[in-house]
Amino acid sequence: MTRFGELLRVLASGGVDFVVVGGVAAAAHGSPRSTQDLDIVYARQDENLRKIAATLAPYHPYLRGAPPKLPFRLDFETLRAGPNFTLVTDLGWLDLFGEISGAGGYDDLAAHSIAVDVFGIRCKVVALDDLILAKRATGRLRDLETVAELEILRERARRPFQ
């Protein structure tokens, strides 16, 4: 089980620059749809990569679904070598994205994001419009179902963040 609140707290406490996207962001906006992982888009600057590596190291990040004992280390060099990582950690499933199709990278998303105070920390959640753009861009039918829900949500939400 993914401990969403604890993962958010750990990342924020480590000073990591990130924006919550995906299912948790949809839930934060008011979607009743479930998810099993925490998806974030993170800043690709070297300093942030070092923070991610140091912050997650105690929670043993490993490639989700990979055979055990591969020589994988989520260190600065590994993060620098590629933008996207699908991880399992001691706190659950965490997906790191350098950018998302249709909506962009950290700077693009952070500019429109919504700051929310949850679990004793403040974190950025992707704007509903950007989340819809990203879901549309995948071209997957199940994501279009989510878009339908998010568009209705946008119409009904007067104050999505309380």
Binding site: T2, R3, G30, S31, V118, L133, V147, Q162
Partner: protein, 64 residues
């Protein structure tokens, strides 16, 4: 950025079809909660799903 600025396409027709099946009562219930409560609800559902899966597996093993 707004999806309203995108030109309409057949994708929008599919989305409109899906909208007919969206349960707005679930959305309205979620909107009554705080953001933290919404995220906690995800965790609670995950916990329930794991418990259910474990119980099903135990039952399946007992039947074998």
């Amino acid at each position: 950025m707004s999806t309203r600025s995108l030109p309409r396409s057949s994708i929008d027709d599919i989305i409109d079809l899906y909208k007919r099946d969206v349960d707005v009562t679930l959305i309205d219930a979620a909107l009554q909660r705080t953001v933290e409560e919404r995220i906690r609800a995800l965790e609670e559902f995950e916990r329930f799903r794991e418990e259910l899966r474990d119980a099903t597996e135990r039952r399946r093993d007992a039947v074998r």
